[in-house]
Symmetry: C2
Subunit: 337 residues, 2 copies
DNA sequence: TTGAAAGCGCTAACAC
DNA sequence: GTGTTAGCGCTTTCAA
């Protein structure tokens, strides 16, 4: 179906102007919602736009306005983890959904391990208006001074100044509350499967664990480390059990490791929660349907993504934005504790 | 740090040309790998590019060349599922990784339910060179004739002509093999939790289930439907058990529903695989660490994403590409069967 | 093999 | 309020 015999590709602003009987500038004004246009002109333009099925060309708009209306989502190449981890997946989902309601477009930037400077150069090349970083594993944030606004998920590694606003949950206090819950249930030999200690969530949840036990006067030496994967949780749990000391509760730094621990606990012929009560962290999709359903710390992951997106948009558009946003967690008590 | 006192923002091609002592056209040729440039000129330009830390401006390039070097990843607004589903997450990961090795950029397009035409208009607006569609729930693919190449994950709904190349696994035969495995293990009362029957994977896996049982002369009426979520799996399993007829095996149309079924089976005081053998589909991250580890059909999800990406790039660049790619599945036998 | 020049489709002063 | 006029930074004929 040919819309306009004289045009070859998509209709241009010029075609709209001609059809509406106004100048290109006026069409541009209407498209961009300028208030200084006569109502009748607005109507004429809108009708022409509809008739022609006109869509502004992003590249041209961006070139002329020096804005790209594009936001980069920066994920590490070890993206396996980013997407396999339901928590990150929800954060991404939150970002994407929030942005879908704006005029911004999301582009995914995988940090190439082969060429670590690629990401930074792309950001500095004026191709995006801002960036969202959803991992903290690396401390080499060479893109921090990309000259454009950046928002980070999770607090920066200690010592590293935050390069921009952060959106996070209070991991330490949330972990502390989770462990206190175990203590209140009468558990006295509480172990933990901590996360990697080069990542803030790993560090902070571990700190919360220790705080809770020390406050209760309990031993806090039943510790093994995992890398947030189910398999690492299973391995860590086996090591804890092999110590041969009594354990009546476990705090896992995330749900995936908790689920991994489930299998090790079962292998050992122990039952949950009778022999060992388990609490996780994240409240991912699988925790509610685990057997038994997992008590865990719920993080508002979709909201975190949405917050990051809206903070970034505020920054890009020159509005004020909080430099550190802490979203509330809640302990979801199910049958594992 | 000011690289070049005379320039304000990022260095332009013009600045590179000046520094290298050549024309802008020559710089453009070098950047785009033209072979008709003298080696010494190439070197001079490359050095200038390095010194200036020059990055081509995408918008300008796209405007002039009428190519965008951008590929859209189109996901339904019910993106909750897309990202919560580890299978889709891996597919996306495969797409992203494959594209990271090319000059193409991935932009995520969420199909707005509020304005269903938005996606189509964006695609038709010349903003991307091609699109990858990773869901088939909707039959309204209004973007099929967006005038740009499109690649689809999974075969189209019956009747709907494929609007472009598809990448898929042979769901029917894979399901059939999974069920045959149960039959070979001596199971005779095989139930299934099928997926939604408006989605090809749901349909095809169900068809494979029936085929296998009919070929074995067994009853194929133990069927309940779920929506691929763990919760729906649990509910469906409960309904199956409530029928009061003997069941000694279950084929779930995906792992998430299989895991959901696990809890219903346990609630009923039955054990896996002694009382009921279970086989899933997808081989997602959790299946190996489930208790017991789940026997399942492994899909090469990352490869599927990568295939979609490379097929799309071939199409965009005018190369031939297969219209239907079927990737191999393998039955991973673990302890649940 | 290289340069000059003409746009790509749009925005943004600046006049009117 | 609206039109005119320059470009935004790059690619791409066309000549040389």
């Amino acid at each position: 179906m040919v819309e306009d015999a004289s045009s070859s590709g998509a209709p241009t602003l010029e075609a709209v102007a001609a059809r509406a009987g106004v100048s290109r500038a006026t069409v541009s004004r209407v498209v961009n919602g300028s208030t200084t246009v006569k109502p009748e002109a607005i109507r004429a333009v809108q009708q022409a736009i509809a008739e022609l099925d006109y869509v502004p060309n992003r590249a041209a708009r961006s070139l002329a306005s020096r804005r790209t209306q594009t936001i980069a989502l920066i994920v590490p190449e070890s993206a396996a983890k980013v997407f396999a981890d339901p928590f990150f997946a929800s954060v991404v989902q939150g970002v994407a959904l929030a942005l879908a309601r704006t005029d911004y477009t999301l582009t995914m930037l995988i940090e190439s391990e082969a060429d670590p400077t690629k990401t930074g150069r792309y950001l500095r090349g004026g191709n995006v208006d801002g960036g969202i970083v959803v991992s903290h594993h690396e401390s080499d944030h060479s893109y921090v001074d990309a000259g454009i606004p950046m928002v980070f998920g999770g607090r920066p590694i200690d010592g590293g100044e935050s390069a921009g606003p952060t959106v996070d949950v209070d991991n330490r206090n949330a972990a502390r509350a989770a462990v206190e819950h175990l203590v209140e249930r009468g558990r006295t030999c509480v172990a933990t499967i901590a996360g990697p200690q080069d990542m803030p969530p790993g560090l902070d949840r571990f700190a919360g664990f220790r705080e809770a036990l020390e406050a209760a006067g309990l031993d806090a030496s039943l510790v093994e480390f995992g890398d947030f994967t189910p398999a690492s949780g299973a391995i860590a749990m086996r090591r804890l059990l092999e110590r041969g000391v009594p354990i009546d509760a476990l705090f896992a730094a995330n749900d995936q490791m908790a689920i991994g621990a489930y299998s090790a606990i079962r292998e050992a012929g122990l039952s949950i929660p009778e022999d060992i009560a388990v609490v996780g962290f994240d409240d991912d999709v699988h925790s509610a349907t685990a057997v038994p359903p997992l008590t865990t710390v719920h993080q508002p992951s979709v909201d975190m993504g949405a917050s990051m997106a809206s903070i970034l948009v505020d920054l890009i558009e020159g509005r004020e934005a909080p430099t550190a946003t802490l979203l509330p967690t809640t302990l979801v008590v199910r049958q594992s504790s």
